[in-house]
Every structure is written in C-alpha cells, then in structure tokens.
Symmetry: C2
C-alpha cells in the first residue's frame, strides 16, 4: 500500500499518474493493482508473471514481465504506507452451482426431463457455424437440436438456435429444434412459432437435484 505511478505495455498500453493504491503480489506471479474504488484492478498481470524489484532514484520499482504475449507492467512506488508479507494456507474446495453445464448434464443423465424416449447423442457437438448444446434423437428417430439457457430465453437465443437447425434441415427436413430454459420472453415465443421451433420449460433447481442425485450414486 502506498503512492505509485504505473505504466503497462503489451497487448495494449496504459499509463497512470501518481496516487495511492493497493498492490497484491501472489506467489504464482499474479499481481493486482487496485485504486480506492471499483471491482476491477486498474492494472494487473496474470499468474505466471515474473516479478522483479529494484531501487531507482529513491523509489521502489516493481516490474512484472510475461512472455507469450510479451507484456510488461511497471509500478514505481515513491511512498509506502504499509508492506505485508506472509503465506496463506488454502486448500478448500470451491463449488459453483447454477451454470448452464449443470442443465446440460441433467438432461444427459435424465433425458425425460425434456420428453419420453429422447436419446442424447453428444454434448456441445461441433458444427461448422458454431456449437450445438446437445444433439439428440427422439422416439421417432428424428434429430433434435437442444439449445440450453440458464436464464429466460431471448429472441437472440431463438435466432442462434435457428441458425443451427436450418442448417440441419437442409439434409434432414424433419430435424427439430428445442429451446430449453426456465422461461421465455414474449418476443422469443412469437419467433419460435414462426421458425417452427419448440420450447421446453426447465428450471435450474430440477437439474441440480438430478445432478446431485447422480453424484451420490
């Protein structure tokens, strides 16, 4: 903690005049310089950075160097308020719920969440124009393209799915497209019916239960 001036050059370039900030340097090389406000650091380097320090004209200069891409962060402290050094013990598990992946996994584990007889084939199948969340086959053997959204599905989501489905329909006119989300905006609803696509309501909560149940087994 102290007063410093900063310059950065690499993927972009920036300068910052003298002011009081907090600098954190972690043992993996990650470093973060924070101004007194805001969520994001004003300057930083990611893990893997090589830190070097030296004195220069009565100032403490801290440089973070990185290759691929080549980047240099230079912080020049002219006044120090506090220096803290130590090591932290932290081996705990971080668990994040409520991601789109949970929904995908639940559908794969229990396809009847969507409909009876559905057989998922592939998650995140590659496609010349992007990715399909899930590719499946229904009980009548038709291809089903599933686009999964964690939040209310928008017009944009419907269009994205249409991009994929229309491609499939060139070779397989019976191909279905199902947008899976907890809810659907009114505009998206209209669009889906115009594009001959379907919607299946599915809430994150249900998916979490399915995935949790599978993990117990």
């Amino acid at each position: 903690m102290g007063s410093c001036a900063v310059s950065y050059k690499g993927r972009a370039a920036s300068t910052l005049g003298e002011g009081e900030r907090i600098l954190i340097i972690k043992s993996d090389g990650a470093c973060l310089l924070h101004r007194p406000y805001g969520y994001k650091p004003v300057n930083w380097q990611p893990a893997g950075t090589v830190i070097r320090t030296h004195a220069e004209d009565g100032a403490l200069v801290i440089e973070g160097l990185r290759r691929t891409p080549r980047e240099v962060l230079r912080i020049e402290f002219t006044a120090l308020k506090t220096i803290l050094s130590g090591s932290l013990e932290d081996s705990a598990q971080f668990a994040m719920y409520a991601t789109e992946r949970v929904m995908q996994r639940a559908i794969f584990l229990r396809p009847q969440l969507i409909e009876e007889g559905l057989k998922p084939l592939k998650i995140e199948k590659e496609h010349p124009r992007g990715y399909i969340d899930i590719l499946a086959v229904d009980r009548e053997g038709r291809e089903v393209i599933l686009e999964v959204k964690r939040n209310e599905a928008t017009k944009r989501d419907a269009l994205q799915m249409y991009k994929y489905v229309s491609e499939y329909r060139l070779t397989n006119p019976a191909a279905r497209g199902v947008l899976v989300a907890p809810s659907l905006s009114k505009e998206a609803q209209l669009l889906l019916s115009q594009l001959n696509l379907e919607f299946k309501r599915l809430r994150l909560e249900e998916c979490e239960r399915v995935v949790a149940g599978a993990d117990e087994e």
Copy 2:
C-alpha cells in the same frame, strides 16, 4: 487477512470451505476475496454493495448485499491474521492506448490504409441488429461495410460482419464487407471466402502512427 468460509447466492450460487484469504472492502462497497493464487477473486461484489458485519458464535461475519440483481455474499472469518484500515488518495488520470477506436480513427483519417478511393461515411453507424464499425463507399460507388478488430479476427467476427452485410445486400447486392484486422484465423479465412467477404490486413502500430501524426497537426 484470515481464515474464512464463504457462500454466495444470487445470479448463481457457490460455496467455499475454510481457508486463508485476503478480503478487500472498498469505500464504494466493492469487495474482493482473493485466494493465495490466481488473477481473479474467488468471490466478490461490485461497487454499490451494502456491507454489514456482525459477530456470530465467535466468528466475524461480513455480508455484502446487493439488489438488482439480488445477491448476497457471506464471509465468515473464524481466525484473523491482520486487519488494515485507512483511506487512499488517488485522483490521477488513467490513460489507455491501443484500443479498437484507434484503428477506427486511423481509417477515418487515412482511408487509403484500406484501399485507394475509399470514402468513409460514418463510424459506429446504427443498424437494426447492432452497430457497423465503419460505413464507407468505394471508388466505384459501392457501399463498403468495415468491421475492425484489434486482434486476430475469428470466425465469430466474420459471422457478425456477415449479419450486417447480408442485410445491406438485400437492397444493394453489390455491397461489400471488409474485415480489418492484423491477422485472420484459418477458419475465419475459409468462412470469408464462402460468404463473399474480404479481408484487409492492418496492424495497430500503423494506426497509432497515423493518429499520432494527426494529433501533432
């Protein structure tokens, strides 16, 4: 700094077991909890968050509450290593160079960077489905839609441009689309040729020289 356990619930949800971390709380409500490694905080709240603290079973509980969206971050410190409090004076100017805007400006100042006879009409022109970086007219009077990228252009960038160009081609089939970037991914190159779009190599460095030269005059 100390040992804590964390839970978060809001747009998503997460838990983190006991471990030693650094917590920064800024006066605007922004708070960041950092593990001993990595660039990103493991949990956080943005500026505007209301911070409340209380003791509970011998632990220091710090809660960050936020509305729109409703989010709660709860940090329970069971052991403290250090507490630091103070205010920082920082009113310096932050200047960032080397952005996409520099490239846009350079093209506007010196259109021959793209091709002879090009006449730029408008930067960031509105469009029903987004924004066009630059709209121009070539020496033969054809509309040219320019999509500018600071880094290597991807398939995604080509598709975004195609969205605009195909719209223009409905009324003006001769309309051109030019993707401007320092380089082009192989997949994007293929896509461009399929979609009848063009690529023009332009490096940030050249643009910076052009803009710097213009500023001197």
